[in-house]
């Protein structure tokens, strides 16, 4: 929150908004999150009236700013996407009369404040509708995610590898490797990088057991990069509880539907960009 002397949300001007924008954008990108910029134009009321209305609606984490037009105000909604922006504008439209707005999701490092504001202003001028959702400046940057499949059955390892290889994962490039046992995986050096890492692992493995590998990965200092999906043939509640308590993110009981597997992997990968 950027409070003013009255304790309400301050309306930032240049060059402060540029600094805050860059800071929030960097935070959002580092956390693989999305930020939204909303530009609101209310021709029927003064800029201070619009600002006053907005001040009563924004959260403490949102940032209000002014543009070069008197009848315009902007809002930065960190940790929010287009849906949250739509809800925010719905609340605003209930209270005000003739206003127009443009919404832009920010998830790419190349998105610039000044250029974005100009684009949004021309979209408001051009479009008839009250709310214009802007096309992103560029596609979400592709992220490399390492995937390790650990299963003692070589043919099934290949099946999972092929299923992952054909998975449609926007903005994520999967680098899949398969391993027949826990020790060769841990000794491969494949885990030693800062990339997000999805591990799909059977609980029973030769040489080093799956649950052992789970413990080892979770005891690493950067264990947060690992998303671990366990597979088992034993439908035992106790084993599942133990695996979840040890840090597994999901559990599949063999035999399982490959579509369920793909859906789980997609869901886990989506969480990277939450």
């Amino acid at each position: 929150m950027v409070p003013n002397k009255a304790g309400t949300q301050a309306v930032l001007k240049e060059p402060y908004i540029q600094y805050v924008f860059d800071l929030l954008k960097a935070n959002a990108l580092r956390g693989r999150r999305v930020m939204v910029m909303v530009l609101i134009r209310a021709e029927s009321e003064t800029a201070s009236e619009t600002a006053f209305r907005l001040q009563s609606l924004v959260r403490s984490t949102d940032v209000l700013f002014e543009t070069d037009r008197q009848d315009e105000r902007g809002v930065l909604l960190p940790m929010s996407g287009a849906d949250e922006a739509r809800s925010f504008l719905n609340r605003l439209f209930r209270e005000t009369g003739e206003i127009k707005a443009a919404v832009l999701e920010i998830f790419h490092p190349d998105t610039e404040l000044r250029a974005s504001i100009e684009d949004m202003q021309s979209a408001i001028d051009r479009e008839e509708g009250a709310i214009t959702f802007m096309a992103p400046v560029s596609q979400r940057p592709e992220e490399e995610v390492k995937v390790s499949v650990l299963d003692p059955d070589p043919l099934f390892r290949d099946v999972l590898g092929m299923a992952l290889g054909q998975l449609d994962t926007p903005a994520v490039r999967l680098e899949v490797k398969t391993f027949g046992d826990g020790r060769s995986f841990l000794q491969s050096g494949w885990t030693a990088s800062a990339h997000s890492h999805l591990v799909v692992m059977n609980d029973l493995l030769p040489r080093q057991n799956g649950l052992d590998v789970l413990h080892t990965l979770r005891s690493l200092p950067n264990d947060g990069k690992f998303t671990i999906l366990m597979m088992t043939r034993r439908n035992s509640e106790e084993d599942m509880t133990y695996a979840y308590e040890s840090g597994a993110d999901g559990y599949l009981i063999k035999p399982f539907n490959l579509r369920l597997f793909e859906a789980q992997v997609k869901r886990l990968l989506t969480r990277l960009w939450s």
Binding site: L155, D158, A163, P255, F256, N257, L258
Partner: protein
């Protein structure tokens, strides 16, 4: 002393060497043939495992190239199907395997069913069950008329259950008496629900081995709806049935009703009294103490020990908590 001519010894040794040489050559040849077969199977897997993935997921249809041309390629296809059937479910994968096996693998297994080699026949029966090859049912039935081993007979029962579940027990009740208890349990676990219900309904007509297996399976399934049925079996004159019934009820993991406990403690069979004593661990402390005082002087040492262990458990704080729960 019997004198053996030197030439006879010489020829004997030479014969032995000859046999040894023939066996060595045979072993090397067999190993070489096995290795060639494995290489061929590996090359098939390398060539086609990606295509099989597409076919089994319904992305493309099976081409002629996937049809195995010999035993080595058949082994590779079996491996692929095994990997899918044991690890993957749904999505019509089983149906696609069944369809392919019925059309393209059936000739191989038909030949194997006629083999004089027991292991070949057994393998064919296993695969017919695994891949659900309905087109070979006629050949399997013809096999029933031959003299078969117990393992083959059991496999035939499994196939019959898979393809003709309706009326399975009426057809086979008399023949199933030869099964081992383990096999009987396996059969009951694989039964569809309606066949299992029919089997329970005809409990009295079943051979003892099937009755014992069925009681065990009822206990493992922990279906409380069967408690009344099991309780009725406590009237049986066969002590083995009564013991197994008590064990099955214990496996339910519930607080055993008093009427069952009373019957167990009144039994002249020590195993029944022992199981009754074991069930006391799920009975509230005061009631358990009442039963325990009654059984403290039981003639069986094991029953007395179980009662003593129960008293010790109840005195410990965790034990009190457990019983109260």
């Amino acid at each position: 002393m019997i004198g053996v001519p030197v030439t006879a010894v010489f020829f004997g040794v030479m014969l032995l060497f000859l046999v040894l040489a023939v066996m060595t050559v045979y072993l090397f040849a067999a190993r070489d043939s096995q290795e060639r077969k494995m290489k061929k199977a590996d090359s098939y897997l390398l060539r086609n495992s990606k295509r099989w993935y597409q076919v089994l997921r319904g992305i493309e249809t099976a081409s002629q190239e996937l049809v195995p041309s010999d035993e080595a390629e058949l082994a590779a296809v079996e491996e692929i199907f095994r990997a899918y059937l044991t690890n993957v479910s749904g999505d019509k994968i089983k149906e696609r395997i069944q369809e392919f096996a019925d059309v393209h693998l059936a000739p191989f297994y038909r030949k194997k069913l006629k083999s004089r080699n027991w292991s070949e026949r057994m393998n064919a029966l296993y695969r017919i069950e695994d891949f659900g090859m309905e087109s070979l049912i006629g050949d399997v039935r013809r096999l029933e008329r031959k003299k078969l081993t117990a393992d083959e007979r059991f496999q035939l029962h499994l196939i019959d259950l898979q393809f003709r579940p309706d009326g399975f027990m009426e057809r086979n009740a008399t023949r199933l008496g030869d099964l081992s208890e383990y096999e009987a349990r396996q059969l009951f676990f694989l039964m569809p629900e309606h066949v299992f219900n029919e089997t329970v309904a005809m409990f009295g007509k079943l051979a003892p081995v099937l009755q014992y297996g069925l009681i065990e399976v009822l206990g493992m399934r922990q279906d409380l709806m069967r408690l009344r049925f099991l309780e009725e079996l406590l009237d049986s004159s066969d002590p083995e049935i009564r013991i197994r019934v008590l064990r099955a009820i214990d496996a339910f993991g519930i607080r055993t009703p008093d009427r069952i406990l009373e019957r167990a403690f009144d039994s002249p069979v020590w195993e029944e009294r022992f199981l009754g004593a074991r069930m006391l661990r799920r009975v509230p402390a005061d009631e358990a103490a009442r039963y325990a005082s009654r059984m403290r002087d039981d003639p069986s040492w094991l029953v007395r020990e179980e009662i003593r262990a129960l008293s010790v458990r109840q005195r410990s704080p965790e034990g009190k908590m457990a019983v109260l729960r």
